[in-house]
């Protein structure tokens, strides 16, 4: 950080950032103006971006934030950071090309938005999403499969498999980084961690977003809030519990990366369509009563509340208005429940649908907004709760 508030990076920092010597060597080869196009920087010089010619038809989009050295590249490399990111930083450090201050491109803003929200914000269906998905299904039905070029299908499947493999590697690397970070926090002392929890958690959360572990990033982004909500005397214990649970989650994911529950907690939630199409999803047709709504902080920062408010403007369809939950509201709906927790067995088995419920049918959906509800059919709140007790 310079006195004029501008931000800069030196070659030494790039050397420390590189995964190994071969990355640095490859980056040096990319630190040439001819390899790059669309190079730019934010007004304060903290954000850098550019497009680097690669082996594919399209250049790789490369971006970096000098404030915390967060970075992102669209190349498939498993190294983090990749040679393109190092090359971009090198260009900047050595002033090989001018980084003219410019408006942030949309693809950089998207990345920044995901980092700021910790990536854990539930994805809300856009108002047009249902119509769009219907159109896609209709298009699939309308197009006879025979017209599909088998080579094209094979190429697409191979590309999807490669992407999936890349995602798994990125998540695995991110979990390695997380465990190392947790070890560092414990070594440096819990007291220092609690004092600086917000900044430290934000840094590792940004790294997890880059590593496609968005749900985990969202959880870590909210970790300081949970610890600080505890009485001062309980905070060290709370921090140990939180960090311990993260280690357990990372190991559970490694043991069963395809398990839906752990994947939901580490990577991202399934779409409503996926949940409802899964034959193992428990689907409950009932009258539901909303007891309370919880919107995670990450979702709130991402504007989910605003989005829901916007959906209830006059002139919108009743279906979109129905996507909004409020306590006391009752509605009949078919709900695909991702997780039913059975609790309090001594007094009879009670089931409460949790935040992950995806609402189908006439009720619309919250797209993952936290909503605790109970199934019931009574005309009064009392009967609603009693029915829930009998579930």
């Amino acid at each position: 950080l310079h006195w004029d508030n501008s931000v800069a990076i030196e070659l030494k920092a790039i050397e420390q950032l590189a995964a190994d010597q071969s990355s640095l060597k490859a980056a040096a080869g990319l630190a040439k103006p001819a390899k790059w196009s669309g190079v730019g920087a934010s007004r304060d010089g903290a954000l850098l971006w550019g497009e680097c010619a690669g082996s594919g038809a399209n250049p790789y989009r490369v971006m970096a934030d000098l404030r915390d050295l967060g970075n992102k590249c669209t190349c498939p490399s498993r190294k983090f950071p990749c040679k393109h990111v190092l090359g971009l930083l090198w260009l900047n450090a050595e002033a090989i090309v001018p980084f003219a201050p410019a408006d942030t491109p949309a693809w950089v803003s998207d990345w920044l938005g995901r980092r700021r929200t910790g990536g854990g914000a539930p994805k809300t269906a856009s108002p047009d999403a249902p119509a769009a998905s219907k159109d896609a299904r209709a298009a699939q039905l309308a197009e006879p499969e025979a017209l599909e070029d088998p080579k094209e299908v094979a190429r697409r499947e191979a590309a999807a498999a490669k992407r999936s493999e890349g995602t798994e590697r990125a998540i695995s690397d991110a979990l390695d980084a997380l465990e190392q970070w947790i070890g560092d926090q414990l070594r440096m002392g819990l007291s220092a961690f609690i004092d600086d929890a917000t900044a430290r958690c934000r840094r590792i959360a940004a790294r997890l977003v880059d590593g496609k572990a968005a749900a985990l990033a969202g959880r870590i982004d909210e970790l300081p809030g949970r610890i600080l909500a505890l009485p001062a005397g309980d905070r060290p214990r709370g921090a140990v519990v939180e960090l311990g649970k993260l280690v357990l989650l990372a190991r559970a994911f490694r043991a069963a990366p395809r398990d839906a529950d752990t994947r939901r907690a580490v990577a991202t939630s399934e779409s409503r369509e996926t949940v409802l199409a899964d034959p193992h999803t428990l689907q409950v047709n009932a009258s539901w009563e909303v007891l309370a709504e919880q919107v995670p902080d990450t979702a709130r920062r991402a504007g989910v509340g605003d989005d829901l408010a916007a959906q209830s403007r006059p002139g919108r369809s009743a279906l979109r208005d129905a996507a909004r939950f409020f306590p006391g509201q009752r509605r009949t709906a078919r709900v695909g429940v991702c997780a039913v927790r059975t609790v309090f067995g001594r007094t009879g088995l009670l089931s409460v649908a949790t935040a992950a419920a995806r609402v189908a049918g006439s009720a619309g959906g919250s797209g993952g907004c936290g909503c605790a509800g109970v199934a019931g059919g009574g005309a009064s709140a009392r009967r609603g709760l009693d029915r829930a007790a009998a579930c």
Binding site: R219, R226, A229, D234, G238, V241, K245, L246, L248, L249, A252, D261, T262, A265, L291, A292, P327, G328, R341, T342, V343, F344, G345, T347, L350, V352, A353, T354, A372, V374, A381, R382, L385, D386, A388, A389
Partner: protein, 87 residues
């Protein structure tokens, strides 16, 4: 209550629907939910003020973190209390 947390020990909390009980305070002023039969006592997150404190709760919907209970809504002899009445 611990079963769901033990099944997925990385879970932060579980929703629970509690039987009849009431909110009480200890000598230090901390609030607790206590079942009507006195067999179960759970510490509350934060304070319980207003209508909730001392009222017989027929049913209580809450979130249990394994450490603290956050009440979402409660059904009393008179009416249902939402979060605004509880906080």
């Amino acid at each position: 209550l611990t079963e769901p947390l033990l099944a997925e020990p990385w879970t932060l909390d579980v929703p629970v629907l509690l039987p009849a009980g009431r909110i009480a305070r200890d000598d230090a002023g901390h609030a607790w939910w206590r079942s009507a039969d006195g067999a179960t006592t759970l510490p509350l997150a934060g304070d319980a003020e207003g209508l909730l404190c001392g009222t017989d709760l027929t049913r209580t919907a809450a979130i249990w973190s394994g450490n603290r209970l956050t009440i979402l809504a409660a059904l009393t002899q008179l009416s249902q209390l939402g979060r605004s009445a509880i906080k």
